[in-house]
């Protein structure tokens, strides 16, 4: 089974932090223990002359009871100041325990044995958990952002790749965005009519355009508007065309032009190509040459 990245990450962070925390606390505790041992040794060194310790050279038997009393009092002081070290024995013979200090004097060597308390403060380990949680939270946050960015990027690339029809009023040409080498010019009348069709289909998406009916007034008005625009842009205009006349011819001129440039973009063609009537009853009342599926993203009019 493959571990989910967030779990793997949490585990990694937690174990790392735990190790660091353990090592840190361990080193601090060891440092404290060494320091306390040194302090205790100093105290014992100063007191050792009045302690009745056994001294083999001078046949001194020593007084173990008094030494024990001394140790007890010393340990009381140590526990009162929350020391991690206590004294377990003071003697002139080598102790069995492995934690001891050797105090060398002129005629004798005194061994101070210690009991160390190197237990960690377990409750403080919650710190590692908290820091881990913070990191995991950050990871999730960053990961979410990352995913979002990725999604954004794919969308934007799609947008840029998505072909778009450019209708240039300055040059009266049709072309696909990014494919400037393929252009197709249109005469005033079909150009204005096509532009009117696009705009009309957007404004009145529910109105069907039938070949056997009169062209709607609204559409004609838009066509007129574009015609004026062309005049304003300085194109040679002989006379105002009658847009209602020879509708079929106008449409086929438009189709021919679109055929040229939309050959490679069937998706776009579906949206931008005025539908042809097919087969029997093609001139029926049902057929509409309107651009039903067009959306604003599919075209761009320059010089509007």
């Amino acid at each position: 089974m493959k571990l989910k990245p967030i779990y793997a990450y949490s585990l990694f962070v937690f174990i790392s932090l735990l190790t660091i925390f353990y090592l840190g606390q361990n080193s601090k505790i060891q440092g404290i223990i060494e320091l306390e041992k040194a302090q205790i040794s100093k105290r014992v060194s100063l007191d050792v002359n009045s302690l009745p310790l056994a001294e083999p050279l001078f046949n001194y038997a020593g007084n173990q009871q008094e030494v024990d009393l001394y140790i007890e009092r010393l340990n009381k002081q140590l526990s009162d100041s929350n020391a991690r070290v206590t004294v377990s024995a003071i003697s002139t013979s080598t102790p069995i325990s492995n934690s001891f200090t050797e105090l060398q004097a002129n005629y004798k060597t005194v061994y101070v044995s210690f009991t160390e308390n190197n237990t960690h403060i377990l409750s403080t380990y919650i710190v590692t958990l908290l820091i881990t949680l913070f990191n995991v939270w950050l990871y999730r946050k960053v990961f979410a952002k990352h995913v979002e960015n990725k999604a954004k990027r794919t969308i934007s690339t799609e947008v840029s790749i998505k072909p778009k029809l450019i209708i240039d009023l300055y040059t009266k040409t049709l072309l696909i965005d990014g494919r400037e080498e393929q252009q197709s010019q249109l005469a005033n009348k079909p150009l204005c009519f096509y532009l009117a069709m696009i705009e009309f289909s957007q404004v009145y998406p529910n109105i069907n355009l039938h070949l056997n009916k009169d062209v709607p007034v609204e559409l004609l008005e838009i066509a007129e508007k574009y015609f004026h625009r062309l005049a304003v842009l300085g194109h040679t205009v002989r006379k105002r065309p009658n847009f209602s006349n020879s509708l079929e011819k106008t449409l086929s001129e438009i189709r021919a032009s679109l055929d040229e440039i939309l050959r490679e973009f069937p998706d776009l063609k579906v949206k931008l190509y005025p539908p042809k009537a097919h087969g029997e009853g093609s001139r029926s009342k049902l057929h509409s040459y309107g651009l039903k599926q067009i959306s604003e993203n599919d075209y761009d009019i320059k010089g509007k």
Binding site: L23, G24, E36, P52, A61, Y70, S81, V142
Partner: protein, 296 residues
């Protein structure tokens, strides 16, 4: 630009990890409280008290061998009228070290000291600092004491016995006299099985537990009869002078001598051990004029 943003997210994550490890280390150190160990002297070998005339800067110094005795002597002296009149401060030092005793005695540091005649003689403390005996514990005898039979003062008798002696060389009954006895029997101490202990009571304990066969000590009728038999002791020395309290008297300060005598007498009697049972007073303090009466 997007690429750059993605990199910065990774950087945030990475730097957060760095900061976290650093924080974990820092906190691991911070949660363990540091050691502020200041150890006071465990045993206090010096006690002091102030008399009512605290303006008086004169200090009365006392040297005794045990903590117990020091604690008895201190309040008694501070409450004494003569001491109050003459001194502003009383200091009592205690310790069993012979070297210390010699310092206090031989250099005249102590005004009052519990010591032995032999040490006084060795240091000539009576001549150099005019130490005078105040009160003396009675003379006593030294014995070899056994558990099972009366010890014989014969060379062969000691050879296979375990002998308990005291470890301090100034003890007459527990160290000097038994060794003197061995010497007179022509016994080499190195060939004897000797166990040294630090006190008379420890000697008795060892004998009672059969850890040694013979001990050398004084005989205490009251206490020793219960543990050992009076029939199984052999004397090795008589008329051993007991410990004495010595006072440094540079002037004819008879008031002080009598005051100290009353204080030390009270302490000696309250202790009640037979070893120190009958006391010898060196000063006549019952009737005027107060004076030194000496040994008899």
């Amino acid at each position: 630009m997007l690429k750059k943003y993605k990199l910065s997210l990774k950087t945030i994550l990475f730097s957060s990890l760095i900061v976290s490890t650093w924080l974990a280390w820092l906190l691991s150190q911070a949660v363990v409280s540091s050691s502020h160990l200041v150890l006071q002297p465990v045993q206090n070998h010096k006690y002091e008290c102030e008399t009512t005339s605290s303006e008086n800067r004169a200090v009365f110094r006392v040297k005794v061998p045990t903590d117990y005795l020091a604690k008895q002597v201190l309040p008694a002296l501070c409450q004494n009228d003569v001491i109050k009149r003459q001194y502003g401060h009383v200091e009592v030092f205690w310790g069993g070290s012979l070297a210390e005793q010699i310092e206090f005695f031989g250099k005249g540091i102590a005004d009052l000291i519990l010591s032995k005649d032999s040490i006084l003689q060795a240091l000539r403390a009576d001549a150099t600092h005019n130490y005078m005996p105040i009160i003396g514990y009675s003379s006593y005898s030294a014995f070899f004491i056994s558990n099972k039979e009366k010890p014989k003062l014969e060379k062969a008798y000691f050879l296979d016995k375990k002998i308990g002696l005291l470890d301090y060389p100034t003890s007459r009954s527990g160290h000097i006299l038994p060794k003197k006895a061995f010497k007179s029997l022509d016994l080499d101490i190195a060939n004897l099985d000797i166990v040294y202990v630090s006190s008379h009571s420890a000697l008795r304990e060892k004998l009672a537990n059969n850890e040694v066969d013979i001990i050398a000590s004084y005989w205490n009728d009251k206490k020793d009869e219960t543990l050992f038999s009076h029939n199984y002791i052999t004397p090795i020395g008589e008329n051993i002078t007991g410990s004495r309290w010595y006072l440094k008297l540079s002037e004819e300060n008879t008031d002080l001598a009598c005051a100290v005598q009353s204080v030390t007498k009270e302490i000696a009697q309250s202790e009640g051990t037979a070893y120190f049972d009958s006391l010898h007073e060196f000063w006549q303090c019952n009737s005027i004029p107060y004076k030194f009466i000496g040994e008899n």
